[in-house]
């Protein structure tokens, strides 16, 4: 199973970077073929341009600017998203990946006004996130990243298993022990993805 790992954090000494490493390690230990997409390292531009917006639904649109990411997404059989949650949502660089790469024909198509699957077929989906604030704060805002993974990605791809949502809340006050336990959990979950 080929796994695309979408990772978004600007600093290599962060806890998110440690989670990213744990994800890669767990997947590789299980013999998965991993395509590691580090959005910051690759200099991904998250801004959907005017030209892209105007040609969004055009079947012959020039998609050369994002073609490599489209190809990698289409080659994937599983997706693992790794990022912090900032201000109740994804970092802009990650949100922009959905805006620019999850295109008509790629992740979905519209036939007679009904949304149907696109070319991307994902059998497994997992999300690994850290939240600065406690769970109640995320809950109060209806936890947008959790809803995105659990509902939108699930509806879009209908993977063979429920979306695995792995979250560490209250990072600002998390102890070393809590962090270490979460790292171990993420690694174990990736081995069993």
């Amino acid at each position: 199973m080929r796994v695309l790992v979408l990772y978004a954090h600007p600093v290599e000494t962060s806890f998110a970077a440690a989670l990213h490493a744990a994800v890669l390690e767990g997947l590789r230990a299980a013999g998965r073929e991993v395509d590691d997409c580090d959005l910051y390292a690759e200099g991904f531009d998250p801004v959907l341009s005017r030209a892209e917006r105007l040609a969004y639904h055009a079947p012959d649109a020039d998609r050369s600017a994002v073609a490599p990411w489209i190809a990698r997404l289409e080659a994937a059989e599983a997706l693992v998203v790794v990022s912090p949650v900032w201000n109740f949502g994804y970092p802009a660089i990650l949100k922009g990946f959905f805006d620019r790469v999850f295109l008509p024909g790629v992740t979905f198509a519209i036939e007679d006004g009904v949304v149907v699957p696109g070319r991307v077929r994902l059998r497994r989906i997992a999300a690994v996130h850290t939240y600065g604030g406690p769970r109640w704060a995320a809950f109060m805002a209806a936890d947008p990243p959790r809803r995105f993974a659990r509902r939108i990605l699930r509806r879009l791809f209908r993977p063979g298993r429920a979306v695995r949502y792995l979250a560490l809340y209250d990072m600002n006050r998390a102890t070393q022990g809590a962090r270490a336990a979460f790292l171990a959990r993420v690694k174990a979950e990736m081995k069993a993805l």
Binding site: Y40, E52, G89, F102, M140
Partner: protein, 194 residues
């Protein structure tokens, strides 16, 4: 009231951009003092960089390079977002504005021994004007992440009794000139009452 409009759409000829102008005109007519931030027009860079992240918790440095945005946010008593809903959420451009401008000391404080505390309590009114491809029904099914992020998440950082208004034109792909004008009138009315 001092009202800040934050707009994020790549095409200034779009229906969404025209709603921004409708909102602005109605607010000015209502006697409000209005400032507009048009993120695409000014080429805002939405990615929180490595340097930005390192300075994030340092209140003496975390506004470097975005002083005007921080000043506008501190100036505002009312805040209105006008944007298209993409994938049930905010365009990356607008999300990046939150990532970079809504920092400790500006939007909230992080006391050492307690949870996050609101710092935008000078904002008494929050509004959203948005256009969605999906239906109202489907948006509810998936939990309206965009709406919740702004009204509940951002709203939590504002005055305790902050008034909120959320205006959305759903199923844009099936919209008609009539539905669009009807929605524009609704936006104008809501802004006139703001």
């Amino acid at each position: 009231m001092r009202v800040l409009i934050v707009h994020s759409h790549p095409d200034s000829d779009s229906y969404n951009a025209s709603l921004r102008r409708t909102a602005e005109e109605a607010l000015v007519r209502g006697g409000h003092e209005v400032r507009v931030i048009d993120l695409y027009a000014e080429g805002f860079q939405p990615t929180l960089t490595r340097e930005g992240w390192r300075a994030y918790e340092d209140e003496t440095r975390n506004a470097d390079g975005i002083e005007d945005h921080v000043a506008a946010l501190r100036w505002a008593e009312g805040l209105i977002f006008v944007y298209p809903t993409w994938w049930y959420g905010l365009p990356a451009m607008l999300k990046g504005w939150l990532d970079r401008v809504w920092t400790p000391g500006v939007a909230f404080t992080l006391p050492k021994d307690g949870p996050i505390a609101p710092a935008l309590t000078h904002i008494r009114k929050l509004g959203v004007v948005t256009t969605c491809g999906a239906s109202w029904w489907l948006t509810q099914v998936v939990g309206a992440p965009g709406r919740n992020l702004i009204l509940r998440g951002c709203g939590f950082l504002m005055a305790p009794r902050c008034r909120k208004v959320y205006l959305a034109h759903y199923r844009m792909d099936a919209s008609t000139p009539q539905s669009r004008e009807k929605f524009r009138a609704r936006v104008a009315r809501a802004m006139a009452r703001f």
